[in-house]
């Protein structure tokens, strides 16, 4: 009856499609809902997370498609994709459900239930970044994968950096009562689209740059692939990426906004 093999690759594309469906849902929602939470339209947060899931799962699909069958259809990847799927589904639905009720999801410890859910969100988020690290590890080990040496290095380093830097930045965020360092007040200036504070420190800037090393370094690898010493350029870019993340991290912890206006 159902002849389509449910490979990890298919799972990653299905998750991309569902994330895209959730983005569409948030945009439809945006046309009707005027409520705000802490001064921000309630649908913004689910929209941002779902866009982020589209980017995450399509990136993973592009990478996994190039693994050789023992890795691309292996048990490790199958388990990792299932855990990431469960994590994403939980995060996306809880964030959306809370936003629809005009309530917070992260940092919401108003009741024992919300406290427990916030704890589970932490487990889900950590599972997602560990999944990225494991898939980076598979790319490293799969010598038959269809990558140039430069792209292999970019993926392994990019995924590894995303994992380490996200654990640092997001880990710090979760240990604090909120992502602001300082009090932006009810009408504090924010950056357009991104929503980061333009008046006080906001750890989300460093968190964003940390998360996207996994896309940034492979894209940079495409940019330098023809150059002499391309591996050297890539390694330099990786160091700069880490330095930029840590710079934003220190800047936020010092209570300074990414851009002030």
């Amino acid at each position: 009856m159902n002849a389509i093999a449910k490979t990890p690759l298919r799972g990653l594309w299905a998750l991309t499609a569902l994330s895209l469906a959730l983005v569409a849902l948030c945009l439809i929602w945006a046309a009707f809902d005027t409520r705000t939470f802490q001064g921000i339209a309630v649908w913004i947060k689910p929209l941002k997370f779902n866009i982020s899931f589209v980017v995450l799962f399509s990136t993973l699909a592009f990478v996994v498609a190039r693994l050789s069958p023992p890795y691309g259809q292996g048990r490790t990847l199958t388990i990792v994709v299932h855990i990431m799927a469960a994590s994403m589904l939980f995060e996306a639905l809880y964030i959306t459900a809370q936003a629809a009720q005009g309530q917070g999801s992260h940092y919401n410890d108003g009741t024992p239930f919300h406290q427990a859910m916030y704890g589970l969100m932490g487990i889900g988020a950590v599972s997602l970044v560990i999944g990225v690290a494991v898939i980076g590890g598979l790319v490293w080990r799969d010598k038959a994968a269809a990558f140039t040496p430069l792209m292999r290095e970019a993926i392994v380093v990019g995924f590894g950096l995303s994992f380490i830097l996200t654990m640092i930045t997001a880990g710090t965020m979760s240990s604090l009562p909120g992502h602001f360092i300082g009090d932006p007040g009810p009408n504090g200036a924010v950056l357009p689209l991104l929503g980061w504070s333009a008046s006080v420190g906001d750890l989300r800037a460093a968190h964003f740059v940390a998360l996207h090393a996994m896309q940034g370094l492979p894209i940079l690898a495409l940019g330098v692939r023809g150059a002499r010493q391309s591996h050297l350029w890539l390694r330099l870019a990786a160091c700069l990426w880490a330095a930029l993340t840590l710079g934003l991290y220190v800047q936020a912890l010092a209570g300074q906004p990414f851009l002030r206006f």
């Binding site: 298919r10 799972g11 299905a14 469906a21 849902l25 799927a85 469960a86």
Partner: protein, 147 residues
Amino acid sequence: MGADDLFGLASAAVLPGWAILVLAPRGRWVWLDRVASLILPLGLSALYAALILTHFSGAEGGGFGSIAQVRALFADDWGLLAGWVHYLAFDLMIGAAMAHRMDRVGVSRLIQAPILVLIFLFGPLGALLALLTEGGLRAADRRGVTA
């Protein structure tokens, strides 16, 4: 049997159907597949038909033309019960149809599960996600990136 009893009965009747859709293996036992896609929707459709034939004319000022007319339909407990059974029957039917469509394009059961729960709770919202997910996966297939 009063409207309250029938409400409880109909609401309880769909639960095994949803449990099967979300949790049970598919394509293994034909009779089990048909509980959610055929047997329960048929039973609920029959109940709806009986309710609406019996009570439609009883609602003073009822109709489909305005919010006020629809409210008048639902002001009567029997009319409200008929409306609720309509939800139960159609949501389950749509749930089974969406599960079948998602099976055909190979959406894994783990990803189907929350979408089906959303159809159970919020009908069209879940169906929207199911159809868009199916469409997205078909688009990926056409681009040849899924294999």
